[in-house]
């Protein structure tokens, strides 16, 4: 009996017991990050260049607006050029890593703006470009929930810096497809102020694999559900975009 309960064995058992929750955490953390990286790919977070059009239709306190952009994204950079209506033509939003710039032809130089500012209706500046949640947020799995008959992991994303679009996001990612289905955007205090749903009717081929790509995002104001913005994505194509187009200095030339 005493042979089995040697101090050495007890120590080993204790160390093993202590490691169990740590290893479980590690597994879940990896899993959350994997889910986030996979879901980012379907929302424009592609290392190679990709181009698409996005139309932002908003209803805000009964007033409707309609704007269109051409988005060119590569890795952590993105360039959004306004195309419609005509008065906004030539306006450019440049996302250099986490810094965001706005430029239009009449300006002498670009201006640094916040990705949190509203672009149109409920859509923030940071919503129109590619998504890099895996880079910008720490993720943890809160629970598993069934959405449209499919099991989804509910991730709680917390901003790594105050330069990102939202402080906290609750993110529903499908276990099977690894696509985000729903998001609740929250304040620092955890209060939900906007919600979004995502459809994936588009697809791109990345490294020989056909990957679903976002086709529609509907952002709704939680306090007034009549205020909403619909982002429709189209004309999606892989493009070898030169890094120079994401250079801030190239904007004002």
């Amino acid at each position: 009996m005493t042979r089995f309960l040697s101090p050495n064995l007890i120590l080993r058992v204790l160390i093993f017991t202590a490691l169990i929750p740590m290893s479980a955490d590690l597994v879940f953390a990896n899993s959350a990050e994997d889910l986030l990286e996979a879901s980012d790919r379907a929302r424009g977070g592609v290392a190679t260049g990709v181009t698409w059009n996005v139309r932002v239709e908003s209803t805000e306190n009964g007033t409707k607006s309609d704007r269109s952009f051409v988005i060119k994204a590569r890795d952590v950079n993105a360039l959004a050029e306004a195309t419609q209506p005509a008065k906004f033509k030539g306006e450019v939003f440049l996302f250099n890593d986490r810094t965001m710039w706005f430029f239009k032809p009449s300006l002498r130089r670009p201006i640094a703006i916040s990705s949190r500012q509203r672009l149109s209706g409920q859509a923030a500046n940071g919503d129109i470009a590619s998504t890099n949640y895996a880079r910008d947020y720490t993720a943890e799995i809160e629970r598993t929930e069934t959405l449209d008959g499919q099991p989804h992991k509910v991730l709680l994303l917390k901003a790594k810096s105050d330069q990102v679009t939202y402080d906290q996001i609750r993110y529903w990612v499908s276990e099977k497809s690894k696509l985000a289905k729903k998001a609740a955007f929250m304040t620092l205090q955890g209060e939900v102020f906007k919600e979004a749903t995502f459809d994936y009717g588009n697809s791109i081929v990345v490294q020989g694999k056909k990957v679903p790509f976002i086709s529609k995002m509907i952002i709704t104001d939680v306090k007034n559900r009549k205020n909403k913005s619909t982002l429709s994505y189209s004309k999606l194509k892989l493009d070898s975009l030169p890094p120079a187009i994401f250079n801030i200095n190239s904007l004002s030339r």
């Binding site: 009449s106 300006l107 130089r109 670009p110 201006i111 640094a112 149109s120």
Partner: protein, 434 residues
């Protein structure tokens, strides 16, 4: 006839005992000078708070906003800004009172981002008509009461700057420091002066325009000093994509007309069926800081005035009591030669009135001399809640002197009348024996 004779007699009586007259008179002079200096200083502080508010902060004597705009414009500018039609309605409403209006100013304010290079800072932009900005900075009242605050700290006037540089703007001292301007604006390189202003249009879209920092100003208030930008209204209209205004202000020729003008405008707006509201600058939502400062000053001033009045009043009463008690024999003699008690009392009251009048005139002279000396000494005092020091000046006014003189005469007369009334009722023989 008796009355005139009594006034002459009373005046002559003052010369009979110079020691008595001087001691009582001196107490009155000290009280008079103390109260004049205190009141004059409060007037100075009031002007130092009022003039920057009216002329420097674009408040005017009367501000006109869209109904609810004073509280909601900042949050919902598209809903609460004034349109061209409403500005026309204001112009028509002003026609009957044109003689009371010195000038009017149209303003358009907004929150925006000011960017130099990769640095963007949130600012509050006040769009003004360049000629109105020049008017308010160069107004004689500003030059007299708050030149150190309202004057531009660097650069020319807006009119001149706007002619030279189409997108000239002025930044506050605090903004200038945040932007890293270490030298005067005029000494900066052209590229350093070029900024970009970004804001949301009334349609909710992001917009940005160029600006050139050409002037530097002071807001006078610490909370605004790090975020104030003044720009010609047309620049702000371009930024917000509107031809409207956030508010319009009226500069009056006379401060006393404020109430009448506000009432007139409110009636006009009602009759014309326009959704506008007029507010005096003393409305708490506009002049909260001014109202707070003045309430504090009046409370402190009243306390000190009470102290001065109390101390001097006691000296006056004490001095008069001794003087009247000393003159019981004189009262007895007057009674003995046929003066009725009321006439004796009247004689002493008149004498007190002469004394108070003379001492007040001397007090007026002394206080005016001291006011000139103090005002020209160049001493300054830190005023709570401001970023600048207020030059100590004693501002005296004719009505202030008239009021103080009258107060001194009343105090002396009442005090004297009350004391004599009690004494003169005693038997003549007893009075003569005292």
């Amino acid at each position: 006839m008796n009355s005139r004779l009594d006034w002459i007699l009373a005046l002559r009586n003052l010369k009979r005992n110079p020691r008595r007259t001087i001691s009582t008179g001196l107490a009155i002079v000290i009280a008079y000078v103390g109260l004049t200096l205190l009141t004059g200083h409060i007037f100075n502080i009031e002007y130092a708070a009022k003039i920057p508010l009216i002329y420097g902060n674009g408040t005017g004597h009367v501000s006109i906003y869209k109904k609810g705009g004073l509280d909601n414009y900042e949050l919902q500018p598209a809903l609460y800004h004034m349109t061209g039609t409403e500005l026309e309605a204001i112009a028509k409403s002003l026609e009957p009172i044109a003689s009371q209006i010195e000038t009017t100013g149209t303003y358009l304010s907004t929150q925006a981002l000011l960017s130099v290079g990769s640095r963007s800072i949130p600012v509050f932009i006040r769009g003004v008509q360049p000629e109105v900005d020049d008017f308010s900075r160069n107004h004689p009242r500003v030059q007299k009461h708050a030149p150190e605050f309202v004057a531009l700290q660097s650069g020319q006037s807006f009119s001149k700057s706007s002619k030279e540089t189409i997108d000239a703007i002025s930044v506050s001292q605090g903004v200038s420091e945040i932007l890293g301007y270490k030298s005067e604006i005029s000494a900066l390189a052209a590229a350093d002066k070029q900024v970009v202003l970004a804001g949301r249009t009334f349609d909710g879209d992001l917009n940005a325009i160029n600006g050139t920092v050409a002037l530097k100003h002071s807001t006078g208030t610490p909370i605004l000093e790090d975020s104030s930008v003044i720009a010609p209204i047309e620049i702000v209209r371009e930024l917000l994509q509107t031809q409207g205004a956030s508010h319009q202000v009226l500069f009056l020729k006379n401060d006393d007309d404020i109430g009448r003008v506000v009432d007139h405008m409110r009636t006009e707006f009602k009759n014309r069926g326009v959704d506008l509201e007029a507010y005096p600058f003393t409305d708490d939502r506009i002049g909260l800081f001014y109202n707070g400062t003045m309430s504090f000053l009046y409370a402190m001033g009243s306390f000190f005035a009470l102290l001065i009045f109390g101390a001097s009043g006691l000296i006056i009463v004490n001095s008069m009591t001794i003087s009247i008690l000393e003159r019981a024999k004189e009262m007895g003699t007057l009674r003995a030669i046929g003066f009725p008690p009321d006439r004796v009392k009247s004689l002493f009251v008149k004498e007190a009135c002469w004394l108070a009048l003379g001492a007040s005139l001397l007090g007026l002279l002394v206080s005016e001399i001291l006011a000139v000396i103090i005002s020209s000494a160049g001493w300054t005092v830190e005023s709570a809640g401001t970023t600048y020091s207020v030059l100590i000046k004693i501002l005296t006014k004719p009505w202030m002197h008239a009021g103080l003189t009258l107060t001194m005469i009343v105090i002396a007369a009442v005090c004297s009348g009350w004391l004599v009334k009690r004494k003169v009722k005693e038997r003549i023989a007893l009075l003569l024996l005292e």
